[in-house]
Symmetry: C2
Subunit: 281 residues, 2 copies
Amino acid sequence: MQILTTVAELRAWRAQAGHVAFVPTMGNLHSGHIALCHEARNRATQKAGKVIASIFVNPIQFGPNEDLSKYPRTFDADCEKLQTAGVDAVFHPGVEELYPYGPQQYFVEPPELQNRLCGEFRPGHFRGVATVVTKLFNLVQPDVAIFGKKDYQQLKVIEGMVRDLNMPVEIVGIDTERADDGLALSSRNGYLTDAERAEAPQLRRTLEGIRSAVQQGERDYASLCERACAELDARGWKTDYIRITNRMDLQAATVDDRALVVLAASQLGRARLIDNLEIDA
Amino acid sequence: MQILTTVAELRAWRAQAGHVAFVPTMGNLHSGHIALCHEARNRATQKAGKVIASIFVNPIQFGPNEDLSKYPRTFDADCEKLQTAGVDAVFHPGVEELYPYGPQQYFVEPPELQNRLCGEFRPGHFRGVATVVTKLFNLVQPDVAIFGKKDYQQLKVIEGMVRDLNMPVEIVGIDTERADDGLALSSRNGYLTDAERAEAPQLRRTLEGIRSAVQQGERDYASLCERACAELDARGWKTDYIRITNRMDLQAATVDDRALVVLAASQLGRARLIDNLEIDA
C-alpha cells in the first residue's frame, strides 16, 4: 500500500490509477470504515481500478469548543487495517498541505439543511465538511466515493452538493456497522468510560422504540420524540435532538411522508454520540 | 464542430477528448473571445487535445435589476466564429439543464474580495460566477481554462477559487482585446448609441492618464482616482468606482506596492462598462 503525504505525490498516483474508488476518513479506523473500504474494493475491482483512502483530521469542520486537538490519531494501526482491506493507497496530508495559504478562503456553502439537526449544535460543521470533501474530490478525482449512513446528514449534504455542483463522482452510502449490543461504531465511542459504554446502546434502543411506535401508527412525531428525549435525559444523557424527518431532504416529517428517518444526537459523558434509523411508515 | 446541449452529451464527448482546453463564455462573441479560443487551440494542439467553448447566459450571476433577459443571444453567428477559430465542440445547455432542480442550493462562496469593486455594485455576482464556473469545470473537466483580463476581478476570483479548492485545472489570463480607438471589446458595447460609442474610449484614456501620473511619481492614489472620476462624470458618465489596487489580491494599493492595477466601472447610457490597466509603479 502506498502512503502519499503530498498533493504532488497524490496527483502522480492519480494519473496512473485508472478507475478510482475513494474512502475519505479522519482515521482512528474501526470496522465501519473497513466496511466502506470493502465496498470500495469491490467497486474498483469490477473496473480493474484502485482504492484510495484518505486520513485527514480536517480542522475546518471542528468548532472552537470541539475535540480537534484530542481527536484520536492512530496512523500506523490504521494503515495495517487499510492494507488488510485491500486498499491500494492512503492519502495522509498534513494540515499545511491542504491549507498552504493559511485559513481557507473559498467555501462550499450548503443550503439551510446545514443549520438544522447536528448543524444547529455545530455551526459551520457542514460547510467545513462540504469544503474539505470538495478539496479531496478535486485532488483524488475519484469515480466513486463511499460514505457511511451513520453520518446521515453528512451523507445528504454530500449527495446534494455533488448533484447541485455537477461533480463527476458517484456517491454510495453504506449501512451503519454496529457492536453486538447495537451501538453504532464511532471513533468517539473511545471517549466512553466502561459504565457509559454499557449505557450507550440505549440510544439505538430509543430509536428502535420510536420506529416501533411509528410502524404501529403513531403520527404525533413531535410528542413521540419529546418523550424519548426526556427518557434518555433521565438516564444521564444530554440530548441535543431526536427528530423524525423525511429521508429526502431531512425536513420534519409530515403524516403523509412514508420514507422516514429518525435521527438523534446526545451527549453521554465526554462523547457526543449520533445515530439514526430509517423507517418505512 | 460538435454542438452539445445536454450534460449527457457533454460527458460522452469528454470521455473521448483527451487533453481539453476550455473557454467559458456567455455568447455574443467578439474578437476578445476569439483570442481566448486561439490561446486554447494552441494549448490543446500542443497536447494533441481538444478545444471546447461553452455558451451559457448564467442567471445566478445577474442581479434582479440587471440585463439577464436583454443579454444578446446570437448563437448561430457565435458558432460560425468558434468553428473558424478551430474550436472542436460547443456546450450550449438550457438553463434547466444546468439548474434541473430549480434554484441552485450549494454555492461556492468567495471571500470578501467578492464584495469590493464590482462586487459592491453587483451583490452576489461573483458568488454566481464562482458557482457556475465550478459547475462547468465539473462538467467539462478541462485541463486548462482561458479567461480574459478585461474581467480582472473575475479572473482573480477564479484563480483564487481554483487554488483554494484544489481544482485540477490551469487558469490562463489573456490580455484585453481593444477596438482601434482603445475601447475594450465587450458584449455590452452593443448597448451604446453612436454618440456614446464615440465617447466610450474615454474610459481607457482616463486609466492611461492615471497610469502616467503613477509612473511620474504620484502616490496619492485616492485623490488621483477621485479627480478622474469627477472628470468622467462631468462628461456624462456615472462612475461606480475607479481604484488603484495591488495586483495580487486587489486590496487598495499602498505606496510600497509596485505591481498595481487600476480598475474602473462606469455607466455610459445603457451600458455599464468596465476596464483596467496594469501599472508597474
